[in-house]
């Protein structure tokens, strides 16, 4: 999982964690992001994602909402409250885009909510945008 990746020019561009209980989704996102030069670790549920993130904080987390043991939202709230991951931004992938309230977004570091079905290309673009502008606090139009 801790595969060190570089982009086409051989530069490591960032460390990410992808969390989803859908194996195929994790697989496709990891491949897309690794191809772009990111180091990608994967987890199948919120608890596993939280453990990975706190052990070695990533630059960004991409997570599903509905997962066993610990939902994506609960995981993001825990990460926000953990000293080592309190600044780690997150992108939420969900089939239920309207399930998140403003409070949910305010109590986490979720910067963007993308609805499933999603485009891996768009996910990559958003990751680049968020990591390129780490101070960006504005929510995307979809999150708003």
């Amino acid at each position: 999982m801790n595969e060190q990746q570089t982009n086409d020019s051989g530069t490591l561009v960032g460390r990410l964690i992808v969390v989803d209980d859908e194996m195929h989704i994790v697989h496709v996102l990891a491949l897309k992001l690794r191809n772009a030069g990111y180091e990608v670790r994967t987890a199948a549920d919120g608890e596993e994602g939280f453990e990975l993130a706190t052990q070695n904080p990533p630059d960004l987390i991409i997570t599903d909402l509905q997962m066993p043991f610990l939902s994506g939202l609960e995981m993001c709230a825990k990460l926000r409250n953990h000293p080592s991951t309190s600044k780690v931004p997150a992108i939420m992938l969900t089939a239920r885009g309207h399930a998140l309230s403003r409070t949910d977004l305010d109590t986490t570091n979720i910067r963007l909510v993308l609805s499933k079905p999603f485009s891996p290309r768009q996910v990559l673009e958003e990751v680049e945008r968020i990591l390129g502008r780490p101070s960006a606090g504005a929510l995307s139009k979809e999150a708003a």
């Binding site: 209980d21 859908e22 194996m23 195929h24 989704i25 697989h27 496709v28 996102l29 491949l31 897309k32 191809n35 199948a44 549920d45 509905q66 066993p68 043991f69 089939a95 239920r96 499933k116 079905p117 999603f118 485009s119 891996p120 290309r121």
Partner: protein, 498 residues
Amino acid sequence: MTNTRSILFGSAWVIALAALCTGSAWFALRLVENAHAESWRWLAVGTMLAVPLACALAVQGLARTGVVNRARAALALEGSVGINTGDCSGWFRTLAEAVNRRLAAESQRTEQLTARLREAEIRLSIAEAERRHTETILHSLRDAVIVTDPFNELTLANPSAAKLLGFDQAGSTHKPIEDIVKDDELRRIIKEVRQSGMLSKQRHIEHTMQPAGSGPNAGPPASFDVTIACLPPRTPVGTPGAPKEVGGVVTILRDITREKEISQMKSDFVSQASHELRTPIASINAYVEMLLDAEARDEATKQEFYSIIKGEAERLARMIDNMLNISRIEAGIVSVDRSEVDFAKVIREVIEMMQPQAKAKNIMLLERIGPLIYTAEADRDMMHQVILNLVSNAIKYTPEGGRATVSVETDDNSRSILVSIQDTGLGIPPEAMDKVFGKFFRIESYKRMAKGTGLGLNLVKHIVETVHHGQVGVFSEVGMGSRFWFTVPFEFQSGRSG
């Protein structure tokens, strides 16, 4: 009436006769007093006796000749009301006419009053029938209905209301509403509507309250659609002592608990179905885009992507099929193709089909089929689906190196075919046992173990129980595995099904 007239007439004659006798006696006595000679005295006595006798004989004679009858006819005391003035003249005629007019007016008034009385009796009878009619309708309603008067006392209630609110219907009329309705909020609303006095408006509210009954038998709070309307006043405004506001309040409580539950279930189903359908679509969409973006950089990766896309498309199709099949069965519109199904054959087909998946997890997939012929009248494709779903679950939730065995036998007690699928898998936690056959139910902690639609077991239950009138069940222990079983009734055939 005729008898009264006869008595009056007879009395008049007796009085007249008595007066004549008295007059005759007085005259005779005067003669006797003045008679000096013996012969005159005898004459007086004779006169005294003879005159009344003569008068009586005269009356008798007149009666025989019809004069009396004519007089009676003149007074018209028999038959019609009034005096026949044709035989009268002078003051008697005038008097008779006045009497006649008075009698006619009184007669007419009597007739009118009689007609009114009959009409009132008919109206009363109709009103009574309508009241009974309305009462029967009211009593047959499942909705609880209570009617209160302007003084906030109960005037009418049906058995549903008595049961819901827990009061004795027979002995509660004219009791204050406070003694009938224990729910503070409902009482407050009734009072508020009564005080608002808005006759033209109905008020609808949704109200949750505890139905009557307490202690361990008390059910959960129920939801009610409450309709409250004011009744018009019974007495005109201004009547002394009558209240100036509404004539009362009618309150109707409809239990909508079940409707709300069904609505919530439908809403949950749509939400869950939409979520479940999006997941394979998301995979298909993502992998197709990866292929288009040339992210699959070698042939093996491309083949892997094609395979994933195909698998997810099949999963999507399966979910849609399951949903439609469950929906059709629930709606009672499923078409059943009944035939004599050989269960041993179907089991072998399913095992052959699922063997690659079992081998991939190093699971032994076995059959245990006796020497008999196991047939029952059923829909073959549906039986195939049921066994496939159960075997598929056994493989999904059995760790590598485990075992799954499909067996068939006859159950003579229930005259059915009994199919069992025993595995050495994870087992089902006790709290989930009664939910595993529900829609979209998946044991959270097992989700990582395998993908599923959450509809497979629900479809099994519908096919077995709803379509084939069989039974389905499970024995399970966490860590020890599960045994799913179902029965399908057969038509007994000697020498075949044993």
